[in-house]
Amino acid sequence: MSSRAFVFIIPVIIIAIFWAMAKIEYRNNNDPTRKGYFERNGKVLGIAFIVLVAFWTLFLVGLPYLYMIVESFHPQLPPSKRGGPDDILTIAQYQSFVLSKHTEGINWLHISSLGFTIFVSIVVTALNFCICYPLAYYMAQAGAPQKVRLLMLCLIVPYWVNEILRAFSLRLLLASKGLINQVLMWSGFTDVPIDFLGNNTGLYVGLSYAYLLVMMFPLYNAIESLDKNQIEAARDLGAPWWRIHKDVVIPYAKPGIASGCTMVFMLSAGSLAAPQFLGGPRMLWFTAIIYDFFFQNFNWARGAAYAFILLAVCIALVMLLLRLFKVSLGETIR
């Protein structure tokens, strides 16, 4: 059977295993409160729920991912040759990431691009954390509910403007003829316009700007649930403000911080708009490489492989960081 068709069997196997486990467990334990699934929901609703959830988890989430992974292990083939004898399992696409096809040797171009992308994402994450933490703390601890809701609304409104337009607005600001350069030259700070876009400042600012809110909310939620009395107690005991944060607030808010950082990191690494519009000409963004494989070269297999590499590296980094700071995955999702 072709490897592609095999993908469809995997979910069926998993579901069958759990179903059997459940049946056995319920036969052995007699729980007085348990009602059967169809008893609880009625036949029509019961079937409707299952169909909806199955369609989503299988056809919109699970199978496409598995399918893409399988595709990444195939060579690039025109539609006529798919399914034919040339359609074999191969790791050529992954190899092409490490070994360049054009020059003999390591594919430094792509590898360094991945490194650059990851590096920028980490910096942006750290940047956003520093920017958002004070405000999150202020809103969570100091605010009256009316004020907090107003601040929330002020935070959300800019994000209703599309990310493309936001990147566009930043480009206007940072361009050679843009407002910031105008102000700098007018104030005598510099004689020539600073090439913010060329030196990648625009990129960092754009990514940071795009995902401020994503850092803001988990931070706010985490700090908000901290009992204010603990901070009062620490203050009473004479702790200076930086110790209060280091010893009381941050350890408590660790899951929220981890959650915010994870999301900003992953969104930043997978971002397309900001790098496209705000990056310098010499910069190569890894996700843009994937985009090109798809739309310039029509090499879907290679695009899929690179996408999977990006995902794997990001997840590995995130898990490493979580382990390092002793946060469990379950806590962050909350």
């Binding site: 592609r4 759990f18 486990m21 459940a22 699934y37 008893e39 609880r40 929901n41 009625g42 029509v44 409707a48 729920f49 299952i50 909806l52 959830v53 989503w56 988890t57 919109l60 989430v61 699970g62 199978l63 496409p64 399918y67 893409m68 595709e71 920017i131 405000l135 202020y138 609304l153 409104v157 209703w160 403007v161 599309n162 990310e163 493309i164 337009l165 936001r166 990147a167 566009f168 607005s169 480009r171 206007l172 600001l173 003829k177 407002l179 700007y209 401020l212 992953m266 969104l267 997978g270 397309l272 708009a273 519009f277 996700t287 994937i290 798809f294 695009g303 899929a304 996408a307 995902l311």
Partner: protein, 290 residues
């Protein structure tokens, strides 16, 4: 100046800076929408004009894109809201050992880069729909693929919204309804859904907005078609044009209007609840006297 007022001053300064960072670029862009130069310019302000708004209205591709965005948005919400609701209900009923895997699978679209969702959607459905010529002709379209791709993570948003609302549901109401003779489907329609109505509204609004402004996934899945956002991206890539600023102004205007409406509705709801509370207190007092 004691340390407390210094601290307060610093905090105020920081907040001002923060919101300047947040709103600054948008304000500047809004100004350029009304400024005459064809290169978006905020300063100097050469002349007030609404030309750019007119140009926007006449922009054929953008209007087409707008239409598609709305269609896709409706399609996504039509799928994601029922799916999210079903998934939330099943979350509580699923075999407990399978729950972690179930949760992981349903939340994963939120953490997956949009690029991957887009790619996997196209690759998967191209083959699945390519099984017969009929399905390929009719269904392998950018709009449908985009709906599928976006629905994967919008459903996850809806799932979270419904789960949050469900945790506040008083199970004893369900039991009371059963005890009075309702069947389980009747409990669902009479008791659970009315309770979930606010969540349904949130899910629809958030789902539609998320779909409308999505770029990463859409850009892959839309194939040959366009949405407003992809047209926008194309325009920005080619250069700058104050018509884009005009679009931004319109969007900001709609958002502000939406925010005001939301605030008004919230106030009204609060007033109603307060009034009911007062009635109850009065009734309690009368009872104590009797």
């Amino acid at each position: 100046m004691n340390s407390k007022s210094v601290m307060r001053g610093m905090i105020a300064f920081y907040i001002v800076l923060f919101f300047l960072y947040l709103f600054g670029p948008l304000l500047v862009m809004s100004v350029t929408a009304f400024n005459t130069p064809s290169y978006p310019q905020a300063y100097p302000f050469e002349g007030f004009t609404l030309d750019w708004f007119v140009k926007l209205w006449n922009h054929r591709a953008m209007m087409d894109g707008l239409k598609n965005s709305v269609i896709i948005g409706i399609g996504v919400v039509a799928i994601a809201v029922p799916v999210g609701l079903a998934a939330a209900i099943i979350m509580n009923q699923i075999y407990h050992r399978a729950r972690s895997l179930y949760y992981l699978v349903t939340i994963s679209p939120l953490l997956t880069p949009g690029v991957i969702i887009g790619i996997s959607t196209v690759i998967f459905w191209k083959d699945v729909l390519g099984v017969t010529d009929f399905t390929k002709e009719v269904f392998y379209k950018g709009i449908i693929l985009t709906i599928f791709g976006q629905a994967s993570f919008v459903s996850a948003y809806c799932l979270l919204i419904f789960m949050a609302r469900l945790t506040r549901f008083d199970r004893s109401q369900e039991e009371a309804a059963l005890d009075l003779g309702a069947s389980y489907p009747q409990v669902f329609w009479h008791i659970l859904l009315p309770f979930l109505k606010p969540a349904v509204v949130s899910a629809i609004v958030i789902g539609f907005l998320s779909s409308f402004e999505n770029y990463n996934t859409t850009t892959f899945a839309i194939l040959a078609d366009k949405t407003l956002v992809t047209v926008l991206a194309g325009e920005v890539r080619q250069g700058t044009n104050p018509a884009l600023s005009a679009l931004a102004v319109i969007i900001i205007g709609i958002s502000l209007a939406g925010a005001i409406v939301f605030e008004v509705l919230k106030r009204r709801e609060q007033q109603k609840a307060d009034r009911a509370q007062r009635e109850a207190v009065m009734a309690e007092r009368q009872e104590a006297v009797a």
